[in-house]
């Protein structure tokens, strides 16, 4: 038999244990080689004819993380993709057809191709844990399941639940997977193997009457069409077909072939082969790697992430409180200092809501609350590993905070500021060890935005910067190194876009139209709604700060709103009226040409500023810029980021469009210095 690199076969008293253990990798992924070797292994098992097969992972935590995404990038044509998919389908079918029962022992994450593999087994048992996820997240990469998973998951748990899982890409905790029937048992890790043997020993019950009836109904095309129409309506509220075709194609697949297994397998392959070579998928895969790269930064610097166990946050405003709560949710202890008890009380309430939403179990919520300590006296600073300042944007007040903090901080503690505008060098000037101070710039809402800008002041020491990145990783956030220039990266690029939106409002364009133009481009949230969300006072402050440095001016309408006390969502009125946390948008009609013109104005101001940032070296390159804008500002992910978008347009063509814009709208559309020097390679 050929030598297997990735699989081990051990047989003992009729039980065959087939273990996947991809060498030199922390987790298993299904590369072409892994799948080809599985074919060989199955051949041997067929010959040996054991009583049962246990499919296991050789990794301590985690079954299979999915297909090998690195191979996606190497796919050059749809035909090549189709070929690879076809061979995977053959091997999975072989596993499914084994004459003896097979069980997948899921000991942690089981995602994408990994779950598709498990679904080809007769039984699935999962180790119970709060953190493990089981699911088919392919849509997040612009494709859908392609190893037969769409067919098998629908067969296993029924179309409504299966489609919902695949269309959202949501991962399930093992216990929820058990409830839906994705796995047969969810048991403590120590019982995984006996549960597998138990599963094999029990005859599988035939479908109940209701389930049988359901299957009969779903075998008819009109029934499926009806259901698809229903699901499609929900889907449209979340994603647009022209941006993310994958979920729509998956739905169509089932509508057409839901009653014909083989036809659906074939159509699945064809659909994925086409999607995987699309621009959207390529961009999403690129972002996947950018995310991995950012995650790895702390490891490369050799900083330990584990030693961060206590953060002391100063300033219990929305940002400070939410940062403390997020850190607690990620297992840290947080002391939150503010001299105003009302602010602490409010932060506590928000934290409790977050814990309840995310943790659900009352005991876990209580444990989180016990780690979240309002600290009016500020005593927490002495033992904290990180002291983070998040008070009002006031230079003197912040400097005073750090002067005080350095007195009590233990040696080696990281000092960080969440300032969005004040130069770090000025805050650090009074410190004994100015190198200790870095910026950790979080985004609102903290629990949703994945990015943290790690701001490098002139004086910041490499050691502190490495620690800051490690800390970001510890709390499950992506650290992006940025230079300490006003606005850093994300706010700096967002601001012209927001100001252009206000300009449009001043010209009499409805906010609804402006937002629609941006959403049509693919922004997660339109600029007008975003401004209301951030708070118009904050926008105003940042705008003033940035225009002071980079020129231009803030439109008067913004100042008017702020003076009138209409600060956006938090006051119930900004550009929109807000009720129960929702902007009250009215119907507003517009034609495609107007929308395209608005989109161009909004987006090109962002592109221009992006080039300026590259030119000034705010981040270390185009990839970092793209990652920052997607993960920190919700820039359309399927477009791959601002720079990727420029490349897609063609640099020259993009530059030419500024001529017209400048003519029509003035100097603010003058291409910035940097376009000429810009070297964007494909």
């Amino acid at each position: 038999m050929a030598q297997l690199n990735n699989w081990r076969i051990n047989s003992e008293s009729g039980w065959c244990r087939l273990t996947l253990d991809v060498p030199r990798a922390s987790q298993n992924v299904l590369s072409a080689e892994v799948i080809a070797e599985l074919d060989i292994a199955l051949e041997q098992i067929e010959r040996d004819a054991p009583n049962a097969v246990l499919l296991c992972s050789g990794k301590e935590r985690g079954f299979v993380a999915g297909a090998d995404v690195r191979e996606f990038a190497k796919i050059e044509s749809g035909e090549q993709a189709a070929e690879a998919l076809a061979s995977a389908h053959r091997v999975f079918a072989r596993l499914e057809a084994l004459p003896m029962p097979s069980v997948a022992l899921i000991n942690g994450h089981c995602l994408g191709g990994g779950l598709e593999l498990a679904l080809a087994c007769d039984f699935r048992v999962a180790a119970d844990s709060e953190s493990a996820r089981i699911g088919l997240p392919e849509v997040l990469l612009g494709i859908h399941p392609g190893f037969g998973g769409s067919v098998r998951l629908i067969e296993t748990i029924g179309a409504p639940a299966a489609l919902q899982l695949m269309l959202s890409g949501r991962g399930l905790a093992p216990r929820s997977a058990r409830r839906l029937g994705v796995v047969d048992y969810a048991v403590p890790m120590r019982q995984l193997e006996s549960a597998a043997r138990y599963a094999v020993s029990r005859p599988r019950l035939p479908d109940g009457k209701l389930k049988g009836l359901w299957k009969t109904v779903m075998a008819s095309l009109p029934a499926r069409a009806l259901m698809c129409a229903f699901i499609k309506r929900q889907l449209r509220a979340r994603v647009r077909r022209e941006h993310y075709p994958a979920p729509y194609q998956l739905l169509e697949l089932w509508r057409r072939h839901g009653n014909d297994r083989e036809a659906m397998f074939a159509a699945e392959r064809e659909s994925v082969a086409q999607l995987i070579t699309s621009a959207a998928s390529r961009n999403l895969v690129k972002l996947f790697f950018l995310r991995e790269k950012l995650k790895k930064i702390p490891k490369e610097t050799g900083k330990e992430t584990a030693h961060f166990s206590h953060i002391h946050v100063i300033g219990a405003g929305v940002m400070g409180g939410d940062i403390a709560a997020w850190c607690v949710l990620r297992g840290l202890r947080a002391t939150l200092h503010d001299s105003n008890p009302a602010a602490l009380a409010n932060a506590m309430k928000r934290a409790h809501n977050l814990f309840r939403r995310r943790l659900k179990s009352p005991r876990l919520v209580q444990r989180a609350l016990d780690r979240f300590q309002p600290d009016p006296a500020g005593d927490g600073a002495r033992r904290a590993d990180v002291i983070l300042e998040a008070i009002v944007e006031d230079r003197a007040a912040k400097a005073a905070v750090f002067a005080e903090a350095q007195k009590v901080a233990r040696s080696g503690a990281l000092l960080a500021t969440n300032t969005s505008g004040i130069p770090l060098e000025e805050l650090a000037s009074g410190l004994r060890a100015p190198g200790q101070l870095v910026g950790l710039h979080f985004f609102n809402p903290v629990a949703r935005m994945q990015l943290i800008e790690v701001v490098r002041g002139e004086q910041s020491s490499p050691d502190s910067l490495a620690a800051a990145a490690a800390f970001a990783a510890r709390i499950g956030r992506l650290p992006l190194a940025v230079k300490s220039r006003p606005g850093f990266l994300v706010n700096r690029i967002l601001m012209p876009y927001l100001l252009e939106a206000v300009q449009l409002l001043e010209e009499g364009v409805r906010g609804e139209i402006v937002d629609r133009a941006a959403e049509q481009f693919g922004m997660a949230m339109g600029p007008v709604e975003l401004a209301d969300n951030v708070g118009l006072d904050v926008c105003m402050h940042v705008a003033r700060n940035l225009t002071k440095t980079y020129g231009g001016e803030a439109p008067g309408m913004l100042a008017q709103k702020v003076e009138g006390g209409n600060l956006g969502k938090k006051t119930g009125e900004g550009f929109y009226r807000w009720t129960r946390g929702k902007a009250q948008k009215e119907k507003a009609d517009s034609d495609a040409r107007t929308l395209a013109a608005i989109e161009e104005r909004l987006i090109f101001r962002m592109l221009n500023e992006s080039v300026a940032c590259l030119n000034e070296g705010i981040v270390d390159g185009a990839d970092s810029l793209d990652a920052g804008m997607v993960f920190g500002a919700g820039f359309a992910p399927f477009r791959g980021g601002p720079v990727a978008y420029i490349i897609e347009q063609g640099q020259e063509a993009a530059l030419r469009r500024f001529d017209g814009l400048q003519e029509r709208y003035g100097e603010r559309f003058a291409p910035c210095a940097g376009w000429k020097e810009l070297q964007l390679g494909e």
Partner: protein
């Protein structure tokens, strides 16, 4: 070095605001209060929370999820899995019992550093099914066949559903069978304490608390606590600034109706709260370079007729003084827990009485008179509230702070205990500067 006698020092202490129960369960269970009071206290210590040798908490009625509530609090406070914790109960003196237990362990050398206190969430006292109803329910679920079920069902009576109010039962003497308020009526009657005196005492309690609050004196003692609904609690909520003897006179007696004297206004309030103290022996003081604030010198417990439990302080305090060879005037300050104005006044009357001191306290004559300016000068249970398990620790902490503020030396904190006991604790402030005299 076991069996070595070491001094017992008071290092620090803190308490929650005492929150008046408003009928419905309050925002905090007893363990929540213990965590809320403990976290800020521990955060300001120079040692880590897991360096305690043990944690002792007094509590009369822990919740159903709080078996050995001291351990629950200890773990939630981050004192570590390896730090043992135990719960003590001596009814209204549970918090003082925790301090005494800590002190004896430190003195004997078995422990060097102990977190001790009391916690009570009276608003969370359970409301129970009656035992008769539980028995009926068991019979019903045992019935297998339909006719059996029917028969069991027929035995149901609406009266079975009458709930047992845990708090009322807790405040009733389980042996004598009379309510705590009635014991107060009884001792008031014995010493002829008038309704006017009680109301005046109660009004003064509120007045004194108001003055201390306005003075900011509690800011060091009380740590603000926060619920999950967005509220901060910074002060005791039982304080009635508008309380006057005239207003109090209008209240109806609640226990000996309709002619008694003890009213809701001149009794302690049903309250939630927690108080912790950090106690240490010499070794721990040296190891962590702790600042010593006071010394716990002695503690005495006494038993008496349960129906006259309000006289507990008189019975516990007198032997404590004798044993330490102090006269009444050697004590600079007194905290007598205000369970009822009637009962505090009766204790003072008992000590003034030659006859009572001779016959019941074994003294040669009256112990003497306590200067009102040296007794409960910042209010007490009537105004602050009396979360039963917590008060014993609170009055010791507060007595120490009064000594510090006035540069006085010695204090006795004492309380009466439901079931017919009294407890008294003698403390001394640490020398900070040479005394004037």
């Amino acid at each position: 070095m076991p069996n070595a006698q070491q001094n017992v020092y008071i290092i620090d202490g803190a308490r929650t605001p005492f929150l008046k129960a408003a009928g419905a369960p309050g925002p905090f269970a007893a363990a929540d209060l213990a965590v809320a009071a403990g976290r800020p206290l521990l955060a300001r210590q120079p040692f880590a929370p897991n360096e305690f040798d043990e944690v002792i908490l007094g509590c009369v009625g822990p919740g159903v999820d709080e078996a050995n509530i001291a351990r629950v609090a200890s773990l939630r406070l981050g004192c570590g899995e390896e730090t043992p914790a135990w719960t003590v109960g001596r009814n209204c003196a549970s918090g003082m019992q925790a301090l005494d237990s800590a002190a004896t362990n430190i003195a004997s050398g078995r422990a060097d550093l102990v977190l001790a206190g009391g916690a009570e969430s009276m608003s969370h006292a359970p409301v129970l099914f009656s035992l008769r109803f539980v028995a009926w329910l068991a019979g019903f679920s045992r019935a297998k066949t339909f006719p059996d079920k029917l028969r069991a069902l027929a035995r149901f009576r609406p009266g079975l559903l009458k709930p047992v109010i845990g708090l009322l039962r807790g405040l009733t003497d389980p042996v004598a069978g009379i309510n705590m308020g009635q014991t107060a009526e009884k001792v008031a009657h014995r010493f002829g304490v008038a309704r006017e005196e009680m109301d005046a005492f109660a009004a003064r309690s509120h007045e004194r608390l108001a003055a201390a609050v306005d003075d900011g004196f509690f800011e060091e003692e009380i740590v603000p606590i926060f619920d999950t609904a967005g509220n901060a609690y910074r002060e005791d909520t039982g304080l009635r600034r508008d309380s006057t003897p005239d207003k109090l006179a209008k209240l109806k007696p609640v226990f000996d109706r309709p002619a008694g004297k003890v009213t809701a206004g001149n009794s302690a309030q049903i309250t939630d709260g927690c108080a912790w103290l950090v106690l240490a022996g010499e070794r721990a003081v040296a190891r962590h370079n702790l600042r010593v604030r006071g010394r716990l010198l002695d503690c005495n417990w006494a038993g008496l007729d349960p129906a006259q439990m309000g006289l507990g302080p008189a019975h516990a305090g007198a032997p404590l003084l004798q044993r330490n060879q102090f006269e009444l005037h050697d004590i600079d300050y007194w905290e007598i827990n205000e369970a009822f104005a009637a009962q505090v006044l009766a204790c003072l009357a008992a000590w003034r009485s030659d006859e009572y001191c001779r016959e019941h306290l074994g003294l040669r004559g009256a112990l003497g008179e306590i200067d009102p300016a040296r007794l409960n000068i910042d209010g007490g249970g009537i105004s602050i509230g009396h979360p039963v398990g917590a008060s014993g620790a609170r009055i010791v902490l507060h007595a120490l702070r009064v000594l510090e503020k006035n540069d006085w030396r010695r204090a006795v904190a004492t309380l009466c205990i439901g079931g017919g006991q009294g407890g008294a604790m003698l403390i001394e402030r640490a020398e900070k500067k040479p005394r004037a005299n």
